[in-house]
Amino acid sequence: MTTVTVLRSEWTKFTTLRSQWFTPLLSVLLSVGLTLAVHLAYGDIDPSLTEDPTIGIYYGFNFGQVPLACFGVLLLGQEYNSGTVRSSLTAVPRRGLLYGGKLLLGTGVGLLVGLAGTAGSLLAVDDVIGVDFGAPGMVRSVVVGVLYCPLLVLFCLGVTAMLRNLTAAMGLLAPMVFLGTVMLAAIPGVRAVAQFLPDRAGQYAFRLETDPNIWFGHWTGLLIMAAWAALALYGGWRSLSRKDV
């Protein structure tokens, strides 16, 4: 029982369950496919796509991040819901080792999704309307596009470890990450708070332009997202390391 054998076991869990390998794949398909589709349809007529090209490049990711977050929840949520967390902990009773294995797998798969989704979207946009890779902030935007994905997976993994329940984690994360924040950001008073939510702060780091309504810089946005992920992972660890399963 070492980090290597535990990672092999986690990789086996990942590849032998359809819902686990399919969700990251779907995430890449949605990110690249919808970005390509929107540029094919409106690329030459919609000026907003050229004003801040990152809005177009990451258009598909608005949808692609949903299955990716689901993947983060499923990693541990499926173990809690099926009861396999008990056989997993019987095989790997050092809870830190099991949690670390999940964390590494989630990071790795998240990075792959980030790389494939960002590269694919860039190539798609470049092919249709062209991308100015030298534009100020473009390199940052691409780096953030890759890093956002593992951070999102880790955030969802941590929240699920805290709640120890797949359905509860989905119920909390769906409105918090995807649906609610856009609407919250539309209410002037709430916007000041909403900008600090993980997906708002993280996605601001994608943008080339500076939004005067947002209190922090682009890189800080990614750091805020990372802080959320770290906080969730810590909370998840406290729950996993202390509670009976």
């Binding site: 029982m1 070492t2 054998t5 535990v6 092999r8 076991s9 086996t12 869990k13 032998t16 369950l17 359809r18 819902s19 499926q78 099926s82 009861g83 396999t84 008990r86 056989s87 997993s88 902990l89 019987t90 095989a91 790997v92 009773p93 050092r94 009976d244 399963v245």
Partner: protein, 302 residues
């Protein structure tokens, strides 16, 4: 060998397990008995480190389970046959476990064949019957060829063939020198399988003895007597100081006398007996009597 030392688990005011100590020794099947809710499963979960004890400890050959290097090679456990993700195949489920402990993949195919699931190894568990899931759980327990095995209610919900299979398997594992702990609330099943019994009720140890000793101690001896004239026999029993209960067909179960004593008494009163047999309470009765005070939920007679 499993050593349970002063193990306790409390949930607030409720003491699920209360100062439990016993050992599970190699080369024998130890039956872990108690009514539902007695604390058997909680004890097993604490042995595996899934639940934290409030006090005391459980050791595997002197080491807490959580500190074992490759625990599946030391202890094989079947706790809940349903704790399998239905979307995985039987083989994939076992690979997820075996690879974490560095057990070679071919061992997975070996144990699947051993439990009779070789044909369905690549089928999703979703379609498995309870009996098949139970066999898969046993396969998981056997993966690391461990010297200690622990099974929680393995015969629950099995058909007679499945029950006989488990019984033969457990006897075989003990014969190979392994320490086997198997919990059950069915005394009769344990009478056939276990060499040693650990009986608990309300989380406390009620008995820790060999099956034979347990019966000798707790099975009350009695005489089954039958007379040519049942009325005369009834009169005799009423006038004697013996306690007796009527049994089927005019027979009586008599306590407090040996066969010789009772034969002499009958002869003195000219009661002609045609049956007099020494009997022992069944293990089931001994168990019921012993745990009667410790049953947590009991149906109240109307």
């Amino acid at each position: 060998m499993i050593q349970v030392q002063g193990l306790s688990k409390s949930y607030g005011e409720t003491h699920a397990v209360d100062g439990l100590s016993f050992e599970v020794r190699p080369s024998q099947v130890t039956g872990f008995l108690g009514p539902n809710g007695a604390g058997k499963t909680t004890t097993m979960r604490m042995i595996l480190g899934l639940d934290r004890p409030t006090a005391g400890q459980a050791l595997i050959d002197g080491t807490p389970y959580a500190e074992l290097t490759d625990p599946l090679r030391r202890v094989g456990a079947l706790l809940d046959a349903h704790a399998v993700h239905g979307g995985r195949t039987a083989r994939a489920h076992l690979l997820c476990l075996s690879r974490s402990n560095g057990i070679p993949d071919r061992r997975v195919d070996e144990v699947l064949t051993q439990v009779g699931l070789g044909e369905v190894a690549r089928k999703r568990v979703k379609g498995f019957s309870l009996g098949m899931r139970q066999r898969l759980g046993v396969a998981a327990a056997l993966l690391g060829d461990p010297p200690v095995l622990m099974l929680d209610e393995p015969v629950n919900g099995l058909d007679p063939e499945g029950i006989r299979w488990i019984r033969t398997l457990l006897r075989g594992l003990a014969a190979e020198g392994r320490a086997v702990l198997v919990s059950s609330h069915l005394m009769s099943e344990m009478a056939l399988t276990a060499d040693h019994l650990v009986v608990i009720g309300r989380g406390r140890l009620l008995a820790d003895a060999s099956t034979a000793d347990f019966i000798a101690e707790h099975g009350r001896p009695r005489l089954r007597v039958r007379a040519v004239d049942p009325v005369k026999l009834a009169d005799l029993l009423r006038s004697s100081e013996l306690t007796a209960e009527p049994a089927e067909g005019g027979a009586w179960d008599v306590h407090g006398a040996t066969g010789e004593e009772f034969a002499r008494l009958a002869a003195d009163h000219r009661v002609v007996l045609y049956e007099i047999a020494a009997q022992q309470d069944s293990l089931e009765e001994a168990f019921m009597r012993m745990t009667a005070d410790s049953v947590e939920y009991r149906a109240v007679a109307a």
